[in-house]
């Protein structure tokens, strides 16, 4: 092994440490956020680390979808839809429960919990 090999290995080592660090930080950051999708587009990331009640308005397919959040919790407060299943679902606290507002094509997911799960069925 000559000097160049050593440099190459060092560079790769440093790069992988950085990559690992970044993924680690990103993963941990996910704990307290909610992702809001309209159809296939991620349209909003909401921070759930605040204690006070906050309100957000999203444009859904049928009209406005009003989302409310408090610490680690999110719910749909109001929406224009025939059955209002979304607002009836109430507060969601875990990444295992997804809020799906079908008529409005809006999906709300809480950032992944520490436990790694690929899918949930209910």
């Amino acid at each position: 092994m000559n000097k160049h090999d050593f440099i190459l290995i060092s560079i790769i080592f440093i790069i992988s440490v950085i990559f690992f660090g970044v993924t680690f930080i990103v993963k941990n950051d996910n704990a307290n956020v909610a992702y809001v999708y309209y159809e296939n587009k991620l349209i909003k990331i909401i921070d759930l680390s605040n204690d006070e009640l906050k309100e957000y308005t999203i444009k859904g397919y049928n009209g406005d979808v009003i989302i409310e959040t408090k610490r680690n919790q999110i719910r749909v407060k109001e929406e224009t839809s025939p059955l209002n299943l979304c607002s009836k679902q109430g507060w969601v606290t875990s990444s295992l429960e997804t809020i799906v507002c079908l008529p409005n094509k809006v999906i709300i997911k809480i950032g992944s919990s520490k436990e790694e799960i690929d899918a949930v069925v209910r």
Binding site: T98, V100, V121, R122
Partner: protein, 327 residues
């Protein structure tokens, strides 16, 4: 030596960035479907996602029993047709009807796509248009639920001999999910997760040579998982009584109707089926939901590669004998 070392390190570096995720959300069949493909071929992945989108779209229209669609004859059209009239339908719909009729026989009549008339009556009560619960007469008088009234004459021609109303709600989604999985396997995109609504998931090979972990929701506390299933190339489907129901005089009436009583079944809180076929998974989870646990255990022992988990009313969990291979 230097070249070899560089090559090895470079390969290691590259293998780290393998397998991007390509994903698409679809809204069909009254639910949302998410398809995730793991590959490093962007072009093929996006083409496949579009193809699967089209696949669900096509069957969504064919199986629609509430709306007609221009240019095709679908379930709504068939239900509207007069009796004793020959109807030429799309080959894909014909094959789906043929498959469903076969499953009726295999499940001793528990899986029945001709329950539309009874389902419509219950729907009126669940929506609150009518108060209380229907009487047996009311359920019987709406129309035939005899699948034998549907005759499949070959060459995509069908004929109705009674006033049946077809409803593919319990099969269409699983059937298309299976087609989608087969398609992905056939073009070499074997690493995928298809989440078809909240109650069903189909996974292919794992993206990192591990096993997929699928959580089962606790029916009594939906913020919790009561079990984790680990496996590849499997479909996991749950039938539960706690998702769609209404309450009357303290009793919950859910949406899975027993063809023998015409009332919602009253056995376990949820039944989950694990098998390699999403269509079969959908059929068996419904079928097992309409049986006592002991009968269900007996029933699936005849199948290769089918396992099930019952979450009973008292919180008791029963597993079929081969479940340990997914732990």
């Amino acid at each position: 030596m230097k070249k070899v070392l560089t090559l090895i390190l470079f390969t290691l570096l590259l293998s780290g960035c393998n397998n991007q995720i390509y994903s698409k959300n679809l809204f069909y069949m009254d639910t949302y479907i998410n398809v995730k493909i793991y590959t490093n071929d962007k072009k093929i992945a996006n083409e496949a996602l579009d193809k699967i989108d089209q696949l669900y779209n096509d069957y969504d229209k064919l199986a629609d029993r509430f709306k007609t669609h221009e240019g095709i004859i679908n379930i709504k059209d068939i239900n509207n047709y007069d009796m004793n009239q020959e109807i030429k339908i799309d080959n894909r719909l014909y094959e789906l009807l043929e498959y469903s009729k076969l499953q009726f026989l295999k499940t001793n009549g528990l899986f029945n796509i001709a329950l539309g008339n009874v389902i419509d009556v219950w729907e009126e009560y669940r929506k609150g248009n009518k108060k209380g619960i229907p009487t047996k007469e009311e359920l019987l008088n709406k129309g035939s639920i005899n699948i034998e009234d549907l005759h499949l004459l070959g060459n995509d021609i069908i004929i109705k001999k009674g006033n049946i109303s077809l409803d593919l709600g319990a099969i269409a989604k699983g059937y298309v999910t299976e087609l989608a999985g087969d398609y992905l396997d056939s073009i070499g995109l074997e690493k995928y997760i298809i989440t078809a609504g909240t109650s069903s998931v189909k996974v292919g090979k794992h993206y990192a040579n591990d096993k997929y972990k699928i959580g089962l929701t606790d029916p009594l506390n939906t913020n919790n998982l009561y079990m984790k299933i680990k496996g590849n190339n499997i479909s996991v489907t749950t039938s539960g009584s706690y998702e769609r129901y209404y309450e009357y005089e303290g009793v919950k009436y859910h949406h899975i109707i027993d063809p023998n009583t015409l009332f919602p079944s009253d056995y376990a809180l949820s039944v989950t089926v694990i098998t390699d076929d999403a269509a079969l998974g959908e059929i068996l989870s419904t079928t097992l939901f309409l049986m006592p646990t002991s009968e269900g255990l007996e029933y699936i022992s005849k199948f290769n590669n089918v396992e099930a988990i019952w979450y009973e009313k008292d919180g008791n969990i029963v597993m079929s004998h081969g479940m340990n291979k997914y732990e």
